[in-house]
Amino acid sequence: MAANVARIHPFTIIRRERYLPISGKVTVRKGQQVAASDVIAEAYLSPQYVLLDIAKGLGVTSKKADQYLQCKVGMQVVAGDILAGPVGFAKRVLRAPKDGKIIVASGGQIFIEVHSTPFELKAGLPGNVMELVDDRGVIIETTGALVQGVWGNGLVDFGLLSISASNPDEHLSPHKLTVGMKGSVVLAGICNDMEALKSAIDLPLRGLIVGGLHPSIIREAENAPFPILVIDGIGNIPMNPVAFKLLASNEKREVNINAESWDKHTGNRPEVVIPLPAGENMPNPRQTVDFSPGQQVKIVRAPYTGKVGKLMNICTGMTSFSSGVTGIAGEVQLEGGDRAILPLVNLEVLE
């Protein structure tokens, strides 16, 4: 059975496809080194338009309006440019109200596409631009440590990693956020305190990585000015120990957070990348993974959410759980020695 995979790896090849949602312009070149927050492509997602009635603007009849046109389709105009006229004794003219491009200029109307701020697609991770995909984006590759999560607030940034927790279930509190953490990416176990989040915003941080985030502060986390990445789930959920150990061992290193939403279609997940120099014969991560005994797995649902263990074996046939629901199950040895029979669909392979 095919498994969900969360990549938590101390040293791996990381290759990411970064595409615009619609056609646009790629702003980097092949072979270029980029930082996580560099803009690699841009597009106008929601262009805006202005419609001008020539006849009304010049005070002439609709039939005569077109003969006063002074612009053509495709022309770039700036605010104040004369588009039609002059007419009559007062030399009445029609001017462009905003900078833009003429889309339609006929039938008594001028239609302008207004210049607006383009959507900027950031690299999301530092690395080398391996390929350009026409009008859509790029493929970036790097090497380093990788930790994938489940939720992010959509922002991208990087900074030096500071540790505010000595273990994965430690809660973030205002007093643990010291002035020395200003401008850094902070690692914590759980964030369920609005005051702690406010303190992080006030400092401000460059990023926050937590195991669990309390549901009551999601709205504030979404609006935080820096990336917030949740590794294990929404709730009072400690960070899984594998991710915590790996991240904590990289204190004071530069970490890159891409806190984009988890897109099941593309497979893009919110993630932390810690760049490291490439080694020799580094294997590419496997694209697809089937469940098999010996794998390290993370449990994604109650009653063991966020706990990590080893898949000991896959049970034959269907197994009935205490809820009465049946499914294909595996026996998992949890860290600490306990064993549990759990549905494979509630497990995520770590690799």
Partner: protein, 584 residues
């Protein structure tokens, strides 16, 4: 059964859902078409496979393991038609509900007339209505153009103007849409579905065909009082498939393999519900509900007239977190027999949002999922049914419509550990009144039968007549007002062996009449205190012949609408009692 009708007509159906892909085999057994077996595997539309073909292949492997039937040849292709050695099948058909809902802009004239019909049409498939343009829209033309560019719709539905009626307003709509389409890059232009004043068809084509594919359907609102969505269903189904083929890798191959016999799962369900309504042909309608991971689908039909509602924002899958935009935590928690905080509920919803294929392991989590399912069904039912009587039966006098049977599908209902949980979810969410029958699609083949009906109608009929669908039982729900504990209905049961017994039904109770599964009995209903049991009005009773379902005959005298205690502890005790009262 003449053998010529059933010769060599084995059929394989493939249902590609957002979580699982199920393949189902039908063939002739003892001269009649029967459901044989099904196999399923996780759908592989998303990463890392990004091709639905892999999931189909794995589901076929599973089916092969179960049945031993060889379906795939050495060339890795499905064997069609069936070979002399018995391998392969004679026909294949598929249904699809995987993929993002298509983005739609609906346009019309009056908000509660053509615009409402256009919205209803769009929501009969897996769609999200992102914008509406109507006569009362006071926005400037450029603002509406901005809206088109922001939404980047897959489809624009144009309705408006009764046949031979308004035309100028429709022309103004076309101007906006034409300009919007012109401004979009060629590859991103939406399809157009015109279903308005038929006098303007050629004008619409002339104005918009330069930019987009224009599909024409009969007027969905030919008259102010008449809505005819069904006439546009085929065009909408084709458009849906074309749009989804662009984003779902493997769908085009599936179209080729099935010779184009691909429907949306909702269309498949709709077809069967419509068919059942023709068979029953009663004063009542037939209702179907499917709670899925991509949407909650409801379908209601009366004498062959169908209305389908696809609620993509109400699902148990990745978009489950959207439910809290339409209902509150308290309204979900009220269905639970144990206390939880709103935060606990939110945590559950998020974990399901992140891992939609995961399943509840603990009894508490199971009951939370079932509580959410109740709200999904309740919201979908309530959105669908106001005025449904007039919609499906325009010549009838009533705006409401009673349904019999109510057919239910979806994993949360079908895979509930106890059937009593399935029954209670349906009763709580739909709250039928009078007399009805609950039927469970225990093998989740409702969409498959719908698409199969197009290839082999006889097969669909015979499978429906078989025991493939589970009769949960006849439900009698008296409606009226009385204090809890008051006897409101006397039921005299006369069994087929002549034995008789009388049961008093008290207000507020939920229980089962002791009639064995498959056993027939005659019931004499005598409502008291003016209660209405669906036999012609308050206080009117009569005789009723029933066949016992899995739950014999269920009497739901809890009242309509179902009342809830403000005392949460008391309500939790009530929930426990209701569940226990259906335990066999």
């Amino acid at each position: 059964m003449p053998s010529s009708q059933t010769d060599a007509d084995s059929l394989l159906t493939i249902d590609v859902g957002s979580i699982n892909t199920q393949v189902t085999l039908f063939d002739v057994v003892d001269g009649k078409y029967r459901f044989l077996a099904s196999g399923s595997a996780p759908t592989t539309a998303g990463a890392p496979f990004n091709d639905i073909g892999e999931g189909i292949r794995r589901a076929l492997d599973r089916l092969h393991t179960i049945t031993g039937w060889i379906l795939v040849g050495a060339d890795e292709q499905l064997i069609v038609p069936r070979g002399m050695d018995g391998s392969g099948v004679d026909a294949i058909a598929a249904t699809v509900s995987v993929g993002q809902p298509i983005r739609v802009i609906v346009t019309g004239l009056l908000d509660d007339v053509s615009l409402e019909s256009a919205r209803n049409l769009a929501l009969s498939t897996y769609a999200q209505v992102e914008e509406t343009f109507g006569l009362n829209d006071r926005r400037k033309l450029e603002s509406r153009i901005d809206a088109i560019m922001r939404v980047r719709p897959d489809l624009i539905v144009i309705s408006g103007g009764t046949d031979g009626g308004a035309s100028q307003a429709v022309r103004r709509l076309m101007e906006v849409i034409g300009l919007g389409c012109y401004l979009m890059p060629e590859k991103q232009r939406p399809e157009i579905l015109y279903a308005g004043n038929q006098a303007l068809v050629e004008e619409v084509k002339a104005a918009l065909e330069t930019y987009s594919t224009v599909n024409v359907a009969p007027n969905i609102r030919p008259d102010l009082e008449v809505e005819c969505l069904e006439a546009a269903y085929p065009q909408l189904a084709s458009i849906f498939r074309r749009i989804q083929s662009k984003t779902i890798v493997g769908l085009q191959e599936l179209e080729a393999t099935t010779n184009g016999n691909v429907l949306s799962s909702a269309d498949g369900i709709g077809r069967i519900i419509r068919y059942l309504s023709k068979i029953y042909g009663s004063k009542k309608g037939v209702f179907g509900v499917d709670v899925g991971a991509s949407a909650t689908v409801v379908a209601a039909a009366h004498n062959g007239n169908l209305r389908t509602g696809v609620f993509s924002h109400l699902s148990l899958g990745e978009k489950i977190n959207g439910i809290l935009e339409y209902t509150s935590c308290a309204e979900i928690i009220r269905w639970l027999p144990f206390p939880i905080t709103e935060d606990t509920l939110r945590e559950y919803i998020y974990s399901k949002h992140f891992y939609p294929a995961s399943i509840p392991v603990t009894p508490q989590e199971l009951l939370i999922e079932q509580a959410i399912a109740r709200e999904l069904m309740r919201l979908a039912y309530q959105s669908m049914t106001p005025g449904i009587g007039k919609v499906l039966n325009p010549k009838g006098a009533k705006s409401s419509l009673d349904f019999e049977p109510i057919v239910a599908s979806g994993s949360v209902l079908v895979h509930a550990p106890k059937l009593s949980q399935s029954v209670l979810m349906l009763l709580d969410a739909i709250q039928p009144s009078g007399i009805t029958t609950l039927v469970l699609d225990q093998y989740k083949i409702l969409p498959s039968l719908g698409v199969a009906a197009a290839i082999n109608p006889l097969m669909a009929v015979q499978v429906l007549e078989s025991n493939t669908f589970q009769n949960l039982g006849c439900v009698i729900s008296p409606v009226g007002k009385a204090k809890p504990g008051t006897v409101i209905l006397k039921v005299k049961i006369t069994y087929s062996d002549g034995n008789e017994t009388t049961v008093d039904i008290k207000a507020g109770s939920l229980g089962i009449l002791p009639i064995q599964t498959g056993q027939s009995a005659n019931l004499q209903l005598r409502p008291l205190h003016g209660f209405d049991v669906g036999m012609g009005g308050g206080g009117r009773g009569g005789r009723l012949k029933v066949v016992g379902g899995e739950f014999g005959v269920i009497i739901d005298a809890r009242g309509r609408p179902l009342g809830f205690s403000k005392d949460l502890e008391r309500q939790r005790e009530r929930n426990k009692k209701w569940l226990a009262s259906l335990d066999k």
